[in-house]
Amino acid sequence: MKSFLHNTWKHRAHVVMALPAFLILFFIMYVPMAGLVMAFKNFDYTLGIWKSPWNGIDNFKFLLASKATFMTMTRNTLLYYIVFTALGTFLNVVLAIAIDQFVFKKMAKTMQTIMIIPVFISYAAVQFIVYAFISTDTGIINHAMDANIRFYSTASYWPVILTIVKMWNSVGYGSVLYMSVLAGIDTELYEAAEIDGANKWQKIWHITIPALIPMITVMLLLSVGSIMKSDTGLFYQVTRNSGVLYPTTQVIDSYVLNAIFKNSNFGFTAATSFFQSVVGLLMMLFANGMVRKIAPDNALF
């Protein structure tokens, strides 16, 4: 203990340098963790988090009792996660291989620059672009088809719309990581395959894809850790937070955001938040454990 204190004193400059980030993390990230006890309390704004009376697991009973809302948003969160992750990974890999195979490199670079742009546009701005395409009166789609489709009040269209918007937003950017793996493949492998008479597809199938598998595995596993989190802007902004669409667009994050604005239902929301955080933690531990087994270098801890 004494030597530890001695060591710390010797490194006091490092302690001082670590302090600002330490404090920011403490006040912004750690204190709100304690706030999760709200899930077991009957929250009253005037009393605050600590003084509000405990109510055991009543909030969670409430959660299970109001199946419809809770089940819908949990289902949506999970389904969108699965679709976005599966389709996203697939498209990332396809795009990375396509750009890698393309011999006109200057052009490939320009195209890539453009493909990454959407990720830098906030959803608050994206929703206006989406509106220009699908609004009933002025939308490009309705005008082109001479139709009168009411996208903003028909829930069943939205899984498709949101998937397209999400892919538009993220695929160009997501492929960068895979391209860096492809750039690192030893060319001798391709040359050897060529001598053995392999054609282009065989080379992709037997060299390129196997080289990508470790990175794909790691990225998939790590993403499992954020299974309960969603791209809030996509579900809140792009849908214009329209209540009619909730059956297919409400996810946990957007529900919580709405609850904060409506200033209501804190017990239910706190229980939902608690559920989200705990499942997130378990998934993260699971994911990291798996990565540790498969590719220890890529494990987070």
């Binding site: 060591n7 709100p32 906030s122 220009a132 002025t138 005008h143 860096s180």
Partner: protein, 310 residues
Amino acid sequence: MSKKKGNAADLAPSRKEKKGIGQYVLGFFLLLYTLFCFLPVLLVFIAAFTDEGAILNNGFSYFPEKWSLAGVQSVLKYGHQLLTSYAITIFVTVFGTFLGLMVMSMFAYSISRKGFRLSKFLSIYLLIPMLFNGGQLSGYIIFTSYYHLKDSLWLLILPLCVSTMNVIILRTYIANSIPNELMEAAKIDGAGEYRTFFQITLPLLKPSMAAVGFMMATAYWNDWQNALLYITSDSKKPLQLLLVSIQKSIEFLLNNTNVPAAARAAMGGNIPQYSSTMATVLIVIGPIMVVYPFFQKYFIKGLTVGSVKG
């Protein structure tokens, strides 16, 4: 067939290959996807310069019947508010990015020092927020009722300031790309800890800081959620919140056909129109489009470095 073995961040290593028909088919599909990414952005430009009447009659179009500067001009009617919002966004972005880079690189430097026994604890302390967090609701209540920071710019700056992933990227760079001997040599020459960090480490950390800094700046520029949650007064409204409130007022007008004429009149020139809305969107997303190509190589490197933990 031969290829120079490019470095890992070089995304388009050249390879001598036949430019057969297959290449043109591939190029065609890549071009299609590029257009898919680009056309929605282009629409913002076009709609911003389209005549309002043309949009009302024919809808949004890539080939508008009539062009007009009215949309862009009417944005100037928001004039004062737009300037204020721009100033707020720029301030938050610059100050937040600078502050974040500073505190994160100091933290990363500290925990990468050998023989510093507290660094193990600090690393775990850094990691936990990535695994577990209090969620939006408890954050909201803590920040507003306990810290009393409602309507404070600090809530736009601090929540995005320190992120575990960014510290890991910086730490990896310090561990792998900055020779420890340099720091030791500086110490032997009599430089103190702080001087060693600021004069030796920090300048060498620039490439990594450019990558992290660009990602942070984008996150600050695009953040609407914290603004929507915490900012109430017009004088502190950042650009993204301005966009959100434009949308809210459009919604209000659409959903309330019986808004009294007096109220409509009171909103005066601020009833948002399609072309002026798009002009605002253009003004909001414009700067990032302009700046991004210059930072592309840095942030691609940062992305790649971040994926390989040291």
